[in-house]
């Protein structure tokens, strides 16, 4: 589908125009989204985005240009415009001197496993699946408003660098999004559900999306209208994998992005507490947090990044200590180390920047029952709705959705409005135990300007925190 010669031409033309380094990425994203709102079909939306993004270093400064006019003249014209802009930047005396890390020059082809190819996707089947999900939600006695969307997508990329690296890739993805509003007497509750992965439509079965969605709907019927209040105070708190995942993503993954630490995202997502840390210890010895793009069928799956560096698991935190940051070639070059392949771009039209993939708390050795036996007076927060964190990634909040009281080592009544609002060191410092489980949910992680939403998984096991402060809304 894509004229791969054009990428080679773009790189050679950039070098001819005086760029010291160039990479060209042909990228095609196709997506179809079907949806229903309150049982009525929304307009189905199909979109494809095909173009070339070219990044290069000119007089030491980084530039990026993109076009969806895929001819040699258009590419040459785009590069000349970029060079002109970089000359204006250079004339201000404020151009940066970029040094990329040295990496292996390689040729690679990679793809996500798929049984049914995206090209063979049956729209009728997609519509049928959508109606099945809508039927699950409509069976609820309490859900009165519902939005269900199913999104199938395909991403093809062809990367060439002036150093000789060539990487070709193919990743289809599937995602279910549900937004459910339930009413019972004076209790109004809302829940977002996002489940998905990489692969053909069969990935929805592989990660048990229908069963998990049904469980969410049944939970709503079970707890809405029955949620009691609790007193604010310190409790032993067990959180579910969904909560563990958002904690890992927000308070470890983002602040470990090396571009944030250097200040490059200072006006957008912000900087990072890592910039000011005096000690590498950020949690108890139970804190093990990783980011791994190579997990098969994961929503954040990739095997080579957008700079052509081979992907691998990154162990960000081990035994409560910082072990490794997330790097691209620019930050690795700055620090004199190798990149760990964290550069991603959401479309051909945006520069690759440092991103997470699948970020999670590593499983431990406990069972959930063993954790409950450890808790005399506590709270079990299985899932969440509201959350946020400050721009240095220290002050964070997670408001529970499915929450139960724990008394005398047993789960009791559902409770409402419980809030974990604490600092990153206090949170991870109070981590006492991790279960053997490992579950993920899908999310679209935002970063950069222009905004780049990239698919990720967040997850983990059940976690037990000791004496965690709990607030009530």
């Amino acid at each position: 589908m894509m004229d791969e010669d054009l990428a080679h031409y773009a790189v050679s033309e950039a070098i001819r125009l005086g760029f010291e380094y160039a990479e060209a990425r042909l990228q095609m994203d196709r997506a179809i989204m079907v949806g229903m709102t309150n049982g009525l079909h929304d307009v189905p939306v199909s979109a494809e985005s095909v173009g070339i993004g070219i990044r290069g270093i000119y007089r030491g400064a980084m530039g990026f240009v993109s076009t969806n006019s895929l001819g040699r003249d258009s590419v040459a014209d785009a590069l000349k415009r970029l060079r002109k802009t970089l000359e204006v930047v250079s004339s201000t005396g404020k151009g940066e001197r970029i040094r990329l890390s040295d990496e292996e020059v390689l040729t690679a082809n990679w793809s996500a496993d798929e049984r049914t190819r995206f090209e063979d996707l049956d729209l009728d089947q997609l519509s049928k699946s959508l109606k099945d999900f809508d039927r699950i939600a409509s069976a609820s006695q309490k859900i009165k408003q519902r939005v269900i969307r199913l999104r199938a997508s395909l991403q093809l990329k062809y990367l060439v660098t002036s150093e000789g690296t060539i990487v070709r890739s193919r990743v289809p993805r599937f995602l279910l999004m549900g937004f459910l509003t339930a009413y019972d007497s004076s209790d109004i509750a809302q829940r977002f559900v996002e489940l998905g992965g990489s692969g053909g439509p069969e990935v929805l079965e592989r990660i048990h999306v229908a069963e998990r969605f049904k469980e969410e709907v049944e939970t709503i019927d079970k707890i809405v209208g029955r949620r009691a209040s609790i007193k604010e105070g310190k409790y032993d708190v067990i959180v579910g994998p969904e909560v563990a995942g958002i904690m890992a993503h927000e308070s470890i993954g983002h602040p470990f992005e090396a571009d944030r630490i250097r200040g490059r995202e200072g006006a957008q997502g912000g900087e990072s507490y890592v910039r000011d840390l005096e000690s590498p210890v950020i949690g108890s010895k139970e804190a093990f947090i990783s980011d791994d793009p190579t997990i098969p069928f994961s929503y954040g799956f990739f095997l080579f990044d957008e700079e052509g560096v081979k992907a691998r698991k990154k162990e960000l935190v081990k035994e409560g200590k910082i072990n490794e940051l997330l790097h691209n070639r620019e930050t690795a070059g700055e620090m004199g180390i190798k990149s760990n392949a964290s550069a991603r771009a959401s479309s051909y039209a945006v520069e690759p920047i440092i991103r997470m993939s699948n970020t999670f708390v590593e499983p431990g050795s406990w069972s959930l029952d063993e954790m409950l036996r450890e808790v005399n007076d506590g709270i079990f927060i299985k899932s969440f709705m509201e959350w946020n964190i400050d721009d240095r990634r220290l002050n964070q909040r997670y408001v529970g959705f499915e929450v139960y009281r724990i008394e005398n080592h047993e789960l009791k009544e559902p409770v409402k409005g419980t809030i974990i609002e604490t600092t990153t060191p206090n949170l991870w410092g109070r981590l006492y135990a991790r279960s053997r489980d490992l579950e993920f949910v899908a999310a679209t992680c935002g970063k950069g300007d222009p905004e780049q939403g990239v698919p990720v998984w967040t997850g983990g096991p059940y976690l037990l925190f000791k004496d965690l402060p709990i607030k009530v809304r």
Binding site: P44, S46, E48, A61, S66, E96, R397
Partner: protein, 430 residues
């Protein structure tokens, strides 16, 4: 023209269509630590097509312009196979009025020079370091509909924001303009540096209920949420606390919120929507009363109403929001506060419940504690935890002055917003 080519490929096979061709040029320069980190540009041409046939509908975004025929065939194939249901109505034959609010061409060199100067000014005003972005857009639109409507128009946008850091403090500045003539980044960069200095050694404060003064960046974020919740789709789908409040008082009697399809420095201005309806000026909240719901043709039909020119084929949404009705100065507002906080910016707003409006947002950049009508000292590590209906009805004062706000992540729809004094808001600390 791509629009005409698509039209010729589909018109015999569909009942209705609305085709919008968009040709855009984007120029971006990002900076941090006083240096330009990247210059980025993009040139793109794409087409969005809404088509209906019988009781079927489909929407397609096409950038694969080298394979238009395949894409058109794909659209027609989709249209044949989708489920039946309500279909949008393409707007009948009409005329559009395009206001002259943009430049003919982007002034890229002039904008970069102004940005470079703004960085120098921020350091001159005492910043330790700065980060920010300059974004320039030139967009050409062409509309063709099955009802005989045609329209061409062009827009230019200049968007800039900066964050200045000093010690543990920071300040924020934002410029939003449709013309280089009104684009003055140095003025806001100096203010950002001044706010960074005034907040460089923040103290902690106790959790509790306070009067808060929201500066335009955070008041814009709040009013953007409120205006988007006036959309019929938001109300129907559970994304709004405005359900069942049409015609009711939701805010003090001096406050009005108006959506403008076109307005000077409204960088989201357009004379037509995605269904070919002319955009308009709609007062959503008039003197405190929820007066108008935002519609596309589909939601209008469901509500027994008429489109307001805000399509979005699935979700109708506001274009450019203006908040009006205040008559105070900032100094007068500060004098009115016995104990509270002046909040200059926010970030990361998330809802526990859109239907009830319960949310929290992180207080970002300079926040200044006010005691007995005077600014006492900077504070940090706080979060605004409130509900939108409570906050809206607890506005006591607003400033005469308003400012356009649009920046990364928090304010996507441009909002021209005042300073706002709100009583009884909860501020929490970790």
């Amino acid at each position: 023209m791509l629009a005409e080519r698509i039209k010729s490929m589909i018109e015999k096979h569909v009942d209705q269509y609305s085709i919008v061709e968009i040709a855009g040029e984007e120029n971006i320069v990002r900076f941090y630590n006083g240096r330009f980190s990247i210059a980025a540009g993009g040139i793109g041409r794409f087409v969005q097509v809404l088509a209906t046939k019988g009781r079927k509908k489909a929407f397609k975004l096409i950038t694969n312009i080298a394979h238009l025929e395949e894409e058109a065939e794909d659209l027609l194939r989709t249209l044949d196979r989708v489920e039946e249901g309500d279909v949008p109505e393409i707007y009948p034959r009409t005329s559009y009025r395009s206001l002259e609010i943009s430049d003919k061409e982007l002034d890229i060199e002039g904008s970069i020079e102004k940005t470079s100067y703004s960085i120098d000014e921020a350091y001159e005003a005492g910043a330790d370091r700065v980060a920010g972005i300059l974004k320039l857009y030139r967009t050409d639109y062409r509309l063709i509909t099955s009802t005989g409507n045609e329209k061409d128009e062009q827009r230019t946008d200049y968007i800039y924001y900066i964050r200045a850091f000093k010690g543990n403090g920071s300040g924020f500045g934002n410029v939003v303009s449709t013309s280089i003539r009104r684009f003055d980044p140095a003025q806001v960069s100096r203010q950002a540096a001044s706010d960074a200095k005034s907040s460089e050694s923040p103290r902690s404060m106790p959790e509790g209920r306070y009067s808060i003064i929201l500066a335009p960046p955070i008041s814009a974020a709040i009013f953007e949420l409120i205006s988007s919740m006036c959309s019929a789709y938001s109300i129907d789908s559970g994304f709004s606390f405005m359900k069942d409040r049409l015609g009711q008082s939701v805010a003090p009697a001096f406050l009005s919120i108006t959506d403008h399809g076109q307005i000077e420095d409204g960088v989201n201005s357009r004379s037509f929507d995605d269904e070919g309806a002319p955009t308009a000026t709609n007062t959503l909240i008039e003197k405190g009363v929820f007066r108008s719901v935002i519609h596309n043709s589909t939601t209008a039909k469901r509500w027994g109403s008429k489109t307001t020119g805000n399509a979005g084929v699935i979700e109708p949404s506001p274009w450019n929001v203006v908040v009006s009705g205040g008559d105070s100065s900032l100094d007068e507002m500060i004098k009115e506060v016995k104990e509270g906080v002046l909040i200059t910016n926010n970030w990361y707003t998330r809802f526990n419940n859109y239907r009830t409006g319960e949310f929290s947002t992180i207080v970002r950049d300079a926040a200044l504690y006010i005691k007995n009508g005077e600014i006492a000292y900077p504070v940090a590590n706080i979060r605004l935890s409130d509900s939108l209906p409570r906050l809206l009805s607890s506005i006591r004062l607003m400033s005469r002055d308003t400012r356009w706000v649009k920046w990364w992540g928090e304010v996507v729809t441009p909002v021209k917003s005042p300073y706002v004094l709100v009583d009884g808001s909860t501020l929490t600390v970790p």
